[in-house]
């Protein structure tokens, strides 16, 4: 029965050749051993020749005749990964992944062995997220090495790396990484369901996957953290979040995310608490300033001159006296220029990139003022808001802030301060309505969890953090279990 089953699915060289569209890379090595011989079929560029030569061909040729049959070879061939009882589809996809197909002509049986030669780059320093202290290592495009990095740093048997395959034509392996006795079960289930229900084909990168998994696709704000830093990844997982890797992407996804988690950097843990708290608050203020400062300038210049003290008003009046535009147009012009500068800087090769700084600094900084197109004060404000947007440790959040600025500036130009407050109201409601993996986005501020505020807004000395933050609903919330056995009342921390 099994034999017939095998025969049905077995492919000869000719059939494989026709399925693979006569690919010139497909090679069939016909070994004349035993009664009829063995065919070894493989793709030329995808396998590692040393492995095939040394451990498959040479091994078979050195065997004496009585061992040259399917059962013995399948059990004893010196290669770590073999697959038997295969479907047609799987044979072809394995061949394309660098496996070699061993076909026994006399027995009409076959199995495949792994001789793959994947392209990997070495593990390098992180580029988009940079730290002063802490490990500099970053993820690479290879899923196996990413899992290796995590396993090496987090040696816990409860660390799960569940595998889900997505896509048909472009098959991708997705790994969901979490610690079984910390991560919340419901969140995990939501995430898995969403990945399984993905309708989108051809997901190339983790950033695409993150966008597909979002709760609200029309929101400006990112709902997952994207990171290339293993230490950030491990820190998040230890706090009850869930991580996702996708084959071929050096960026990992972390969820559920909340608004404040986009403003924390792992460096906050490495630096001393006083500095970390200070920097964290500065980031938040910078974000708020970046969102509203230009808008406030537009509003006061258009509608509320009365707000500005007379001495300051004279200075602003002087610098604005030559300008032909209304404040709204002036601000939009300058903001767009800054965005243009940033985009050009990002696209240019790094050697030319430096010139952009000079061009931007001189042209936008001085020439526009001297030409009487913008006021000095607006330049300061726009520069501040550009800096503020980039201070967010997660790049996505910076971009979201940069885009959200424009509607608020326009609202300010149309309705003055009232418009800004309307913008704030919309923002508040949007933040309240937003969820990430069904967890509230504005947590722990709303729903309010007093004990969690110390995790997100500020950073206290480390001995205050005996619990994991409750916003992720961890199963096991106590960090130092063994040593805390004697302390009955944990709430004092």
């Amino acid at each position: 029965m099994t034999k017939r089953h095998n025969n049905d699915n077995l492919l000869g060289y000719e059939k494989i050749k026709s399925i693979l569209n006569e690919s010139p890379d497909l090679i069939c090595r016909k070994l004349e051993v035993g009664q009829e011989g063995i065919h070894i079929i493989f793709m030329k560029n995808l396998i590692k020749p040393e492995i095939l030569n040394e451990y498959v061909i040479k091994y078979i040729e050195e065997l004496s005749v009585e061992y040259l049959h399917y059962t013995y070879l399948m059990k004893n061939i010196p290669i770590d990964e073999i697959k038997v009882n295969l479907e047609e589809q799987e044979i072809i996809s394995s061949l394309l992944n660098g496996f070699a197909y061993l076909y026994f002509l006399d027995e009409k049986k076959a199995f495949i062995v792994n001789c793959a030669n994947p392209i990997e780059r070495s593990i390098e320093k992180a580029e988009t997220e940079s730290l002063v202290y802490g490990p500099k290592i970053s993820f690479t495009e290879s899923l196996t090495s990413n899992v290796k990095i995590i396993r090496q740093n987090l040696n816990d048997y409860n660390l799960c790396t569940d595998e889900i395959k997505i896509g048909e034509r472009l098959q991708k392996q997705v790994r969901i990484v979490y610690i079984k006795d910390i991560a919340n079960h419901d969140t995990l289930q939501t995430l898995k369901d969403r990945i399984k229900q993905l309708k989108m084909e051809d997901i190339i990168d983790s950033s695409v996957l993150a966008q597909c998994l979002e709760d609200k696709h029309y929101s400006l704000l990112p709902q997952f953290i994207l990171t290339e830093l293993p230490d950030r990844f491990i820190y998040s997982i230890l706090n009850g979040r869930i991580g996702i890797f996708i084959d071929g992407s050096p960026v990992a996804i972390i969820g559920p995310a909340n608004f404040f988690s986009f403003f924390e950097s792992t460096e906050d843990i490495y630096l001393r608490w006083s500095l970390s708290t200070f920097i964290r608050l500065i980031r938040l203020f910078a974000m708020v300033g970046s969102l509203f400062l230009t808008a406030i300038y537009v509003a006061t210049m258009t509608y509320h001159f009365e707000l500005i003290p007379s001495k300051l008003l004279i200075i602003i009046g002087q610098s604005r006296s030559q300008i032909p535009f209304p404040p709204l147009l002036e601000a939009l012009l300058l903001e767009l220029l800054i965005e243009l500068l940033r985009e050009a800087g990002a696209r240019l090769p790094s050697k030319v990139g430096q010139t952009m700084g000079i061009v931007g600094g001189i042209v936008i900084g001085q020439a526009t003022v001297e030409a009487g197109l913008t006021s000095n004060i607006l330049i300061i404000i726009v520069a501040f808001s550009a800096l503020g947007a980039f201070s967010a440790p997660i790049y996505e959040m910076g971009t979201a802030v940069r885009i959200a600025r424009f509607p608020i500036i326009i609202l300010a130009g149309v309705w003055g301060l009232n418009g800004i407050i309307v913008g704030i109201c919309i923002l508040i409601v949007h933040l309240l309505r937003l969820t990430s993996l069904n967890k509230p986005y504005l947590a722990p501020l709303y729903p309010l969890r007093m004990k969690d505020l110390k995790y997100f807004l500020i950073r206290l000395p480390h001995h205050f953090y005996m619990r994991r933050p409750l916003v992720n609903r961890p199963k096991d919330s106590i960090r130092l279990k063994e040593r805390l056995k004697n302390i009955t009342d944990l709430d004092e921390f």
Binding site: E306, I308, W415, G416, C425, I428, V429, L432, L448
Partner: protein, 364 residues
């Protein structure tokens, strides 16, 4: 259905009740109180606060006796489906009127301070869109709006510090120069400002720790009373009697004397910021009225929200004169007084009678 309800913590009741009480009323309350009870306005406010506190206690007992549920459900339960629906409809109309009064009084204020010439319906439309967006997020979002608006605006209280330096203590002395009847009239007039605690009757099913609700709603009610008291007393001390009688929004005028090194006229910040103060009011009134529509007609709350919003928007073209608006606010205040200061007493009585009948019929 019940399982879909998202619960909020009991302390959120504080923010809900407090923010739905504070709104447009507090800006004008010193004048209205002064017109009735002169220097002793603060006594009226304290009496009013005490009264509100008692009514709150009564409301909690009504809710507990009726095993939770909103007032809409209680009405249907007590009076039956048909008569209950008529009652509910009246309440829905009341809340729509409150929403309308808040919107137009804010738009009027905003047009006075810096936006002359803008059409009223533009402001109404902007506020409506905001409110629709918030309310369609459900009760959780409405609560969040209350909470965040409280956090973002409570600091305005400290701005009173500057006018405090220019007050004249003799303006409030001697105490008890007004007749008791004037003081009672003041209590009556304060109703428009103090109203909002009736929200309690509609949030009960959403509260997680129901036994703590009474505590937090009392705190909220007293916090509001103290805020109103502070603003009234400071306004009376700050303005001379005749000035106060002429100022429609004495609190805004008082804020206009506030100076910062970098902000010359603070009221131009305070008036836009007041959107954040009235935003919870708008959300809660729209939420409750749409909930009522849902209860009466058995349609989705979404349609209720849109229906009410369209009515409100059409009404915004009817805004004409200050005098008419004032009359309207007065009527809303009066209705509110009878509906939420007097009616709960009757409702309490009816509930008890109903319960006794029920237990008797069960025995027999």
């Amino acid at each position: 259905m019940r399982s879909n309800i998202r619960f909020v913590n009991a302390f959120m009741a504080f923010y809900i009740i407090h923010t739905s009480q504070i709104g447009m009323g507090i800006l004008g309350v010193p004048r209205i109180m002064y017109l009735e009870s002169k220097k002793d306005a603060w006594i009226s406010i304290l009496i009013s606060g005490l009264f509100v506190s008692l009514i709150t206690w009564l409301m909690i007992s009504i809710l507990k006796k009726n095993e939770g549920g909103t007032l809409f459900e209680i009405h249907e339960h007590i009076f039956g489906r048909f008569i209950g629906s008529i009652f509910n409809f009246l309440i829905v109309i009341y809340f729509i009127a409150v929403h309308y009064s808040i919107t137009i009084s804010y738009v009027e204020l905003s047009l006075t301070w810096g936006y002359e010439g803008v059409y009223e319906w533009v402001g109404v439309l902007a506020l409506l869109i905001l409110t629709i967006y918030a309310v369609s997020g459900g009760f959780r979002v409405v609560t969040g709006v209350c909470f965040l608006s409280f956090l973002l605006t409570i600091w305005l209280l400290f701005v009173v510090y500057q006018p405090l330096q220019r007050i004249n203590l003799t303006r409030i002395l001697p105490i008890m120069t007004t007749t008791p009847s004037e003081i009672i009239k003041g209590v009556f007039k304060s109703s428009y400002t103090m109203l909002g605690f009736e929200t309690l009757l509609f949030i009960f099913p959403f509260i997680k720790e129901k036994n703590q609700l009474h505590l937090f709603s009392q705190i909220a009610v007293w916090f509001t009373t103290i805020l109103v008291l502070i603003t009234t007393v400071v306004s009376i001390l700050f303005f001379s009697g005749k000035e106060l009688e002429k100022n429609v929004w004495p609190v805004v005028s008082m804020i206009s004397t506030v100076h910062f090194p970098f902000i010359e006229r603070f009221e131009f910040v305070a008036v836009p910021l007041w959107i954040l103060v009235i935003f919870p009011n708008l959300c809660i009134t729209l939420y409750i009225s749409s909930k009522g529509i849902k209860q009466i007609f058995h349609i989705k709350q979404k349609y209720g929200i849109w229906l009410i919003s369209i009515i409100l928007f059409i009404c915004s073209f009817l805004i004409t004169k200050r005098v008419d608006n004032n009359y309207f606010f007065d009527q809303v205040g009066k209705t509110g007084f009878f509906l939420w200061f007097i009616y709960p007493i009757f409702l309490y009585g009816i509930t008890i009678i109903k319960l006794k009948i029920n237990t008797r019929s069960r025995r027999s």
